[in-house]
Symmetry: D3
Subunit: 138 residues, 6 copies
């Protein structure tokens, strides 16, 4: 059983806000992270997959396939986008890094299992000081 | 003569666009960097100062003063902001990293010379692959 | 269940030594790490917290509160200090990275649980080659 | 119980290939990673060990001993070498990062247990985007 | 006048050797860097361009064009290749980082000047400890 | 003319202080950097050398010689030491990063010129936010 991690990156705008609150109330709750004019980040995404090494190939899974899948289902929808306004899988969710990690897990889990391996972890780094990990645990 | 560099960081939203063009025309010119819904980055800023070491202090300049000055004049105006809409010193400029470096130079130059040292370089890293340097050269 | 990690940094002096041994004996045991005139490091500290995402806020816990708590209970006591001589929670412990990780865990555990989340891991990087992790396991 | 990680580095050439296949067939399977003229990487290796802190020493294990052991059993055999042609413990294995992690685990496990601690994880980073972890799980 | 830097990466095999010397003589001169079975690196390449900011566009040059040009003329020829055997612009040169920087400068200089900007610097990082810069100075 | 940079690292304790002042006066001037019980850093040192590529060797200078020279003249005297108390070339100087860069330049300049190349720059990074460069300019 080996764990394989692929990093991808995206740059996006977002804002923390609760839909039912005013800008002033959101500002009180989230501070500058709720700026109504948006702000943004260079997000780094690490997707970890686990599986057995296929003896005839020497790998757990073709990393090119994994990378393509992450790009198609996640990066193309997030890169140079507004997470609150434009990302289908983030609708009806507060645009936090926590929710982003959970949503990316949901985007990837079944597609990755179709490659014969198991999604193990989604990790997102929002800044050099803040990051989040999700293992699919309820 | 010693060169001293201080790094500060800010996260902001922006968009490349020419005011006189439509969204479609801007999109053709700048690609996804012109998304009308914005995107954003974790910008890293390096400010380099040059001066002689003051023998009685052992330093070129009190780095705390430099850091406070950069925060007051630059970071507080950029961090968690929309560069196009909210940053006074970027009004009437396209919100590119090049223009940002020039504008930050203009914000800092005279204030830094009042500390008895010379602003040497402003460097901005927009992503891990792209960065810009400005030395005040016309 | 999401894991949230906050990085903080501190620069400190320390020395590996057993109180009952002479400088020569400590030097034999620990090598240059036991220099009686001290040496120091830029330590990086990662504190990982786990908890459920609060649906109304979109976050596990307000990261600002976590950062303030780490600064108050850990960083302010360690930064620009001598770990052997000046850090109350390191008295009667050898000033190793292992013991530092355990002591920081003890400093943070109950305060973090009062925020309604669980301390999961304390990680300290002493140099780019050496790091330590503690999960509160006996 | 504390986890201690040591990083070491090596630069090596390799090629992904199945011995029974032609160059053309290998190229179809592995793409440029199977270039018959080789390519190479700066590999980074993280070895994680777990154990209890020895109260009289303040450490889990003498890190110098661990580093020497990793260098003797792993780095000296891999650094500035061709993984396919010259590394004894990689004979009869496809020279993938996955197989390298497993083989390094096998090289280190019993030697590390003789130091009175337990090998917990071998992690190899092949590029800044790709890495592999192995915990000795079957 | 603004300086713009683009980073690209390539992984390649190489060997330091003088064509007229035996393997033993080359080994005496270059040590393990001359291993006849090759070794390799993850090279990082920074290309710095200088020019004036075009006021109507806000940039010095379209970075996408620069990146495409570097990929076409440099990266595609080096990535997953053997520098000694397969790279046309390194024929008749010892495969050192110094010569690589000079050769990449020669590959890029006129093509970049056709974009209306000036090539300022080629920087190559071979390992985290070793790097080389070339400014086209004779 | 090519510029070659070698990175080396050292971990040391230091304190900013003027010998003629009391601890209270030094504390007022330098803040926590003047803690009488010391603090410390993981310093990173980049030494840049310039010279012509020797056509028969392919390099500017044998990097191993440069690394050995830096270790002998600089790193061995600084690593795991107290800069104020134990480093001969820092006696009678305030232990600032600026003075350290100048002193390292003086330690290296003539020895490097004996290798037939020219010392171009000494760069020291004290923390991830603060660094200093010295080019031997008066």
């Amino acid at each position: 059983m080996v764990y394989l991690t692929r990093r991808e990156r995206f740059s996006a705008a977002h804002r923390l806000m609760q839909p039912g609150l005013s800008d002033a109330e959101n500002s009180e709750m989230y501070g500058p992270c709720s700026n109504p004019n948006w702000h943004g980040h260079n997000y780094e995404l690490w997707v970890t997959i686990k599986g057995e090494v296929k003896p005839e190939y020497g790998y757990v899974v073709d990393l090119k396939q994994v990378s393509n899948l992450i790009r198609e289902k996640v990066i193309d929808k997030l890169d140079h986008k507004n997470i609150n306004l434009e990302v289908d899988f983030m609708q009806d969710r507060i645009a936090s890094t926590e929710n982003l990690a959970i949503a990316i897990w949901e985007q990837l889990e079944s597609a990755i299992s179709k490659l014969g391996v198991t999604l193990h972890k989604v990790r997102i780094q929002e800044t050099e000081n803040n990051s989040v990990e999700y293992f699919g645990e309820q």
